[in-house]
């Protein structure tokens, strides 16, 4: 069993090294772990730091957004023959120790996709983010007719079946909701695993802001209308 840890990164020189150093080296039931950093057109030292600690570094020539970076990581994992993939944020908000727990339902063949949910224990998350996340969950439910308690979580695991079937079109943050639509479209088995959220002043500045919600909503409606070709 070969696991890919995909981390899209844009101008993350301050925290990326620390995130990569904490990644697990061994997991029970996994023979090989490779970390894939997708450098999304960063202008700082993200590439240099990634090359120092990661197994694979993919440099995108321009910054198109987390959607493109994540899909590139997924395609790279397929190319490298990975059986299992987990995505996580580069800003240090995820605890690398959660990786093992999030992939467990896939290893035990109970799920094709696992969402690491921050909403079961949202202690430390600013109320505006909690509200924003619930609003996004609601929008995702309306557009894709599938409920999840944390549709915007960046920590998600995909088994081989999901890796072969899921196909994103998103450029930016709308990928989070699009994945939920893909789970429904491909009738994949899915479950949620509670994860810890580490909110530092740095990670709060990164990620989505509440005003991005309208932009994301417009894009997920267009994705839904466009369907899959």
């Amino acid at each position: 069993m070969k696991l890919a840890i995909v981390i899209p990164a844009y101008n993350e020189e301050r925290v990326l090294g620390n995130v990569l150093k904490k990644l697990p080296r061994k997991i029970l039931g996994v023979d090989e772990i490779i970390s894939i950093i997708v450098n999304d057109g960063s202008r700082d030292k993200t590439e240099m730091i990634a090359k120092k600690y990661a197994s694979k570094v993919i440099n995108l020539p321009i910054n198109l957004g987390v959607g493109t970076a994540t899909e590139t990581g997924i395609m790279a994992a397929r190319k490298l023959g990975c059986d299992l993939l987990i995505t996580m944020d580069a800003d240090g908000q995820h605890n690398p120790k959660d990786i093992e727990r999030v992939i467990q339902p896939i290893l035990s063949k109970k799920a094709d996709v696992v969402i690491g949910t921050r909403m079961k224990n949202s202690k430390g998350m600013p109320w505006i983010r909690v509200f924003g996340n619930w609003m996004m969950n609601l929008m995702t439910l309306i557009v894709f007719q599938k409920w999840t308690s944390d549709s915007q979580s960046g920590m998600r695991a995909f088994g081989k079946n999901a890796l072969n079937k899921i196909n994103h079109r998103s450029l930016g943050y709308e990928i989070c909701s699009e994945t939920i639509g893909e789970i429904r479209r491909n009738r994949l088995k899915f479950c949620e695993v509670p994860i810890q959220v580490i909110y530092s002043s740095y990670s709060q500045k990164k990620g989505q802001n509440i005003f991005n919600a309208i932009n994301v909503l417009t894009k997920i409606i267009m994705i839904r209308l466009a369907g899959k070709r």
Partner: protein, 116 residues
Amino acid sequence: MIFLAKFLSIVLALVVISKSYVGYRNKQESLTMFLFWLITWLLIVVLSLFPIIIEKANHLIGQSGTGVDTFFGLTFVLLFFVTYRVYLKANRLEQKMREMVIKVGLRDLSDPNDQS
């Protein structure tokens, strides 16, 4: 002016629907997207041919129709057409750019276990 609005809405509707249909036939557009533009533009044509519907709706909310309404209606039709063109171009460009960026990113990737 009213005749022009009617004529223009029919011509633009024909352009949009035919272009959308060609896009769908060439697999550049999905069936749902084609149906979306088809229904939207048929609605515009119906409203421009039978403005009585708008007048009745206006009457229901206590408004009365004037030449200004026609002017704004015409502007709306033109803007909707421009939006459609911009949406199509932006969407296609975005997707092409995305494909290209991913291709460039994956160019140098090789399997470390692959000795060939």
